[in-house]
Amino acid sequence: MVIENLKHRPVRTLLSAIAIGVQVTMILTLVGVSRGMLQDMAQRARGTGADVLVRPPGSSIIGFSGVMPEKIAPVVLAVPHVAQVTATLVQPVGNISSITGINLEEFNKMSGGFRYLEGGPFQGPQDLIVDEVFARSEHVHLGDHVDQGIKWRVAGIVESGKLSRMFAQLRELQDLFSATGKVSVIYVKVDTPANIPVVIESLKEKLEDYKIYSVEEFTSLISVDNIPLLRRFIAVVIALAVIVGFLVVFLSMYTAVLERTREIGILKALGASPGYILGILVRETILLAVAGTAVGILMSYGTRTLMRVMAPTMTQVIVPDWWPWAALIALVGSLIGALYPGLKAARQDAIEALAYD
C-alpha cells in the first residue's frame, strides 16, 4: 500500500524526493568542500618537500598571516640534521586569497622545482607564478596582468600541488607590504626522516613559544574538527537542512492526508487502529527519505562536477562516510515533518472521513 500510495502521485513523490535530495546535497556538498579544501591545503603543504615547519608564536593552524623575524631561518639551519630551510611570507590579498612570497631557488631545491605548463620563473619585480587551477578559475594566461591591489604580471603557470596558488618573490612581497625582514613560515628539510623528531625537539628548545610541527602532524591537524568556526557553520547548515526536510515532508504529507481523508475513513471502518494509519504514513516518509538520500548522493556528484567547472579553486570531495549521517538527518527532518499530518490522520473521525468527497 505504501509503494502504491507513492506511485499514485508520481510528480509529488518525485518532487518530495528531490527536495529531500537537495537537503542531503547541501550537507554533502558543504562537508565535501570543507574537507576537499582542507585536504588540498594539506596536500600542497606536503608538496613543499619539507619535513618540519616553524610558525610564529600564537599562530593558528589555518591562518598563515602571523609573522616572525626572517633572521630565525639561519638559526634553524644551524640545528644539527637540518639539511635545508626556506622561509615564506603569506600575504592575504583580495577577499580570501593570498600570495606566497618565496625564494625561488631555495623553494625549488626543497620541493623538487615547479613544473611549468606555460612561461617560466620570475623575470621582473612584480612577476607572479600561478598554478593551473588558479589560471583556469580566473581565466588567466601567460603575460596577463592580475590585479590584487597591485598589478602583477603572470610570468609562469605551473602544475598545482606545491604550497600555494600564487607565488611572488619573497623580497618583493616583503617590500610591497612593509614586511621587510618578516616571514610567515619556515620550511625545514631534515637530512633523513629518522631525524625529524630530534630536529623538532631541538627547535622547540631553541625557539620557545614558536609553533613547530612535523609536516605529517601539521597535515593531520588540518581537519574540520580542528576549525571550530567551520564546525559551527556545518552545524548551522545541518539545522537548516533539517528544517527544509521538515517543511517539505510536512507539506507533502499534509496534502496527502487531506487528499486521502476518505481512504483513512475506509481504513478506520475496516478496523485500522491509529497506530496502523500512522505506520503507513511513517513508512511512506521513510521511503521518501531513503529515495531523497539516494537522489542527494547522486546530486553531490553533480555539484562536484559543477564546482570543477565553475569554481576550480574550491575542491569538493565525495564523502561516503557522511552518507549515513546525511540519511539520518534527512530521516529525522522528514519524520518530524510527517508527525503532525500523521497524527491528524490517525485522529480523524471515521464517519466524517467517510462522508468526505
Binding site: M1, K7, H8, G265, K268, L270, G271, S273, L354
Partner: protein, 220 residues
C-alpha cells in the same frame, strides 16, 4: 446476534442537541437477513454507525455477538470493526491505489491475519464472480464489480454481522440484482447475518424481514 434496547443517540451540533435515535429496540438472530428502510433523517445511518462501532451510543444497551457496545473505548470499538463487523457502503469505498485483490488483502492485514487468501475464501470469490478481475484497480471495474469486491472485503475476516448501507444505491437494475443476489447467497449458503439499509422496497424484499424507521424509532 444483535440485541438493541432503548438505544438513544444525541449529537451536539453547536448549541443544539439533535436526537438522532430516540429509543430503538431491535433483535436480529444469527443468520438472519434484515432490511432497514425509512426516509432520510429517520436514523438508519446512525443505527448503522453505532452497530458498526463507528460512533458510541449515548444510552441504552447494544449487544453484538455478546459484546456490549455501551462504554466501549475507541480501541475496543476498533477491535469490534476489525473482527466482528463488515461494512458495505453505497459508494463502494475501495482504496483507489490498490488492486481488487489488495483491497481484500488489506482487510486481512488490518485484522492481523496472513494476506494470502485461504481455500474457503477462494470459494466465496467464485461465488462473487470476481475471478479474473482481482488484479484490476477499482477504476477498471464496473460499479457492480466494485461492490462485489467491497462485499468480499467485508466478509474476508468472517465477521459476525455484515452491515450494508444502501449497497445498490449507485447501481443500475441489473447490477443491483446481482449484488442483492450475492448478499442473499452469502446469507443462505454461509449463514452470514446481514443488516441492510435501503430506500428501495424491491431491495428490502430480499431480506427475511423489513424493519421500518421513522424519527429515530423503529415503527414497524
Amino acid at each position: 446476534m444483535i440485541e438493541v434496547r432503548d438505544l438513544k443517540k444525541t449529537y451536539h451540533v453547536g448549541e443544539v442537541d439533535v436526537h438522532a435515535l430516540r429509543g430503538v429496540n431491535l433483535s436480529v438472530e444469527r443468520s438472519e437477513f434484515v432490511a432497514v428502510i425509512g426516509p432520510s433523517g429517520s436514523g438508519k445511518s446512525t443505527l448503522f454507525h453505532i452497530l458498526g462501532g463507528l460512533t458510541p451510543p449515548t444510552s441504552g444497551t447494544v449487544y453484538i455477538d455478546g459484546q456490549d457496545l455501551l462504554g466501549m473505548t475507541d480501541g475496543q470499538r476498533t477491535e469490534l470493526r476489525k473482527k466482528s463487523v463488515g461494512f458495505v457502503f453505497q459508494k463502494y469505498n475501495l482504496l483507489p491505489t490498490l488492486s481488487a485483490a489488495d483491497n481484500i488483502a488489506i482487510a486481512r492485514d488490518i485484522a492481523g491475519r496472513p494476506r494470502e487468501s485461504d481455500q474457503a475464501f477462494d470459494q466465496i470469490l467464485k461465488l462473487l464472480g470476481l475471478e479474473g478481475r482481482l488484479h484490476h484497480k477499482p477504476r477498471a471495474l464496473s460499479g457492480g464489480e466494485q461492490q462485489r469486491v467491497a462485499i468480499a472485503r467485508a466478509i474476508v475476516n468472517h465477521p459476525a454481522i455484515l452491515l450494508a448501507d444502501e449497497p445498490t444505491g449507485n447501481l443500475d437494475t441489473e447490477n443491483s440484482q446481482a449484488v442483492l443476489g450475492v448478499l442473499r447467497d452469502l446469507n443462505t449458503r454461509m449463514g452470514q447475518t446481514i443488516l441492510m439499509i435501503t430506500h428501495n422496497p424491491e431491495a428490502a424484499a430480499y431480506g427475511h424481514r423489513i424493519v421500518k424507521m421513522l424519527d429515530g424509532r423503529i415503527v414497524d
